[in-house]
Amino acid sequence: MTETIEIALKTLEAQLNQPLETALEACARCGICAEACHYYRAEPKVEHIPAHRAEQLRSVYRHEHDFLSRLFPVWTRSKRLDEPTLTNLTEIAFSQCTLCRRCTVNCPLGVDTPLMMRAIRAMATASGAAPEILVMLADAAIEKGKDPSFYKEMFLEQIADMEKQLRDITGDEEASIPVEKRGAKILYVPLAGAHTILPPAVVFNAAKEDWTLSIFEASNYGVFLADVNRAKQVARRIVDEANRLGVKEIVISECGHAYASYRWDVPNWFAGQFDFKVRSLIEVLAEYIQDGKIKVDPAAIPEAVTYHDSCNLARNGGLIEEPRYVLKKIAADFREMTPNKAEALCCGGGGGLVALAEYAERRIAAGRPKADQIKNTGARLVVAACENCRLQIGDLNEHYNLNVQITALTDLVVRAMRLPKPLPGTEAEHLFEGEKAGIPAP
């Protein structure tokens, strides 16, 4: 047995808790999960059935743990883990599963196939077989956390420029983007890029919120690697920042995996040792509208709008009604995709797939069911509250000629706030121009 295989097997053993053993044991191989998977829908073949995918890990598990399989390997097709098997497992877990949990929801036994795919990802990461780019991105974030002073000055300069834009857009000379403000109520954690800072800044200022901007980004590539150690180090930057500033809550930008990890995983990684709560920006938007803290025009968006449920936000995160509440307050023609909510189809960009250029073709092909869904709504605007979903739907838009515009929910809310000027460099600006060009505004 090579060292790589030894490490991979040890990692599997270390993860073997009650839920994982259950997932490995419970499947009856009934095949009912087939259509639940967008890979199967796009290309119906046995290899794309979630149960078949999981079976590749089960065969290794059985070899290690099942009495009958050790006696008669052929009876259960059990096999010893070797290099080609590990390569195959890695390929499956990183390129043929977005960890969307749609198969789990559709399984009569509730088998958690993504849990097994995560176990494989962890095995691959520990043994050095995981995609290099994900490892590099996670490690870069960890390094950034060790010495933020290296880029902080530049970041603050950019924020100062953004503040000018903010004042220009809102017409409010007092509008600001506070950074590292001690005692603020909210620590808002954006993604990399002004598009996830400026629109929320508009909203926070309009709501007269006591907030501060994080100097770190919310995304966490350690999560995609299923490497709790790395993921925890990435998350620690923000947990420490929140503790240092004494904030009451962390608000996560429109990002599926970041929300799911900070809301549902981080409390477990840190054994619940913090006093702040975690919310998504979507929940905050819904609250502001409900409480009248921001004023929105109920007919601000005349185009047909549809909403894509990010798997991490909806099925894995429980944020199902909040975005719909917001959309129904601002969009006159809101159309649901079918199926939606907990049964929504994955767009194909989750699980870190968007970052893996080597699997781009496969990712686009697997996104076809989502593209068809979007087409069937007849909507012109697709709202996605997750950056990876937006990138994927953008690619689907181009590849399948959907002729739609993809936008974040916050951008649309800002548009509905009817500010003196539109947001720069976003779809919102384009839409604003569109309105001026003759698309009827109410």
Binding site: L16, T22, E25, G31, T76, D112, R263, E321, Y325
Partner: protein
């Protein structure tokens, strides 16, 4: 006859012991404690997982494969009826005739549905690709078990083969794929806890409930 009854009883004891060992082995493993603040309702999630969440209309998959799902349900009702019938076999003479007749009908239907499942595993492309020798053996063994129990209820001549096949079936339960009968409970429990905590299931949680 007593010898064969004892054989079935031994098989049942071995099967139960094997299942208990499996249960104990799994329970010995770590059960992660979830410290994230609950959004939904865990007990509602678990209740959903074992009740309405199992209804044929509750999932897209079972709506698409309604017949296959109902076939499976019928087959499993047949299995549990057969197990109950074999355990009660020394007292069959005391059973009301109507109950015997109903049992025979359930077992007949269960055996037919089991055989259909066995054939589907051979004929249907996806199922053939997914199936292991263990799956084929398990479905035909349990089908034979159901059929012989039904026949045993009708004709005494089938009692000996019924007890022999029952013994083999009971012993095989913890060894092969049939042990999913144990993990079903674990799996649905984890399902209910996970999705209940996150307010994903049961369906129909309103925005006001969601933002509480």
């Amino acid at each position: 006859m007593l010898i064969f009854q004892l054989l079935a009883l031994t098989g049942l004891s071995m099967g139960l012991f094997g299942i208990y060992r499996r249960y104990a082995q799994t329970k010995r493993r770590l059960l992660p404690t979830d410290k994230s603040p609950v959004k939904g309702n865990i007990s509602h999630g678990i209740t959903y997982a074992f009740t309405t969440g199992m209804m044929p209309w509750a999932k897209e998959s079972t709506r698409i494969h309604m017949i296959a799902y109902l076939r499976g349900i019928g087959f499993h009702i047949g299995i549990f009826t057969a197990i109950g019938a074999v355990i009660l076999s020394p007292f069959w003479g005391f059973l009301p005739p109507l109950l015997s007749r109903i049992s025979v009908w359930i077992l007949t239907l269960g055996a037919i549905l089991g055989a259909a499942g066995g054939l589907m595993r051979i004929v249907e492309h996806n199922l053939r690709g997914l199936s292991l020798p263990d799956d084929h053996f398990a479905v035909w063994l349990t089908t034979l078990f159901i059929a012989l129990t039904g026949l045993g209820l009708v004709k005494e001549a089938f009692l000996v083969p019924m007890y022999i096949v029952a013994a083999v079936t009971f012993v095989y339960i913890p060894l092969g794929k049939i042990r999913h009968c144990l993990y079903f409970f674990f799996s649905r429990m984890f399902f209910g806890k996970f999705f209940g905590r996150r307010a994903v299931f049961p369906h129909g949680i309103s925005y006001r409930e969601a933002v509480k």
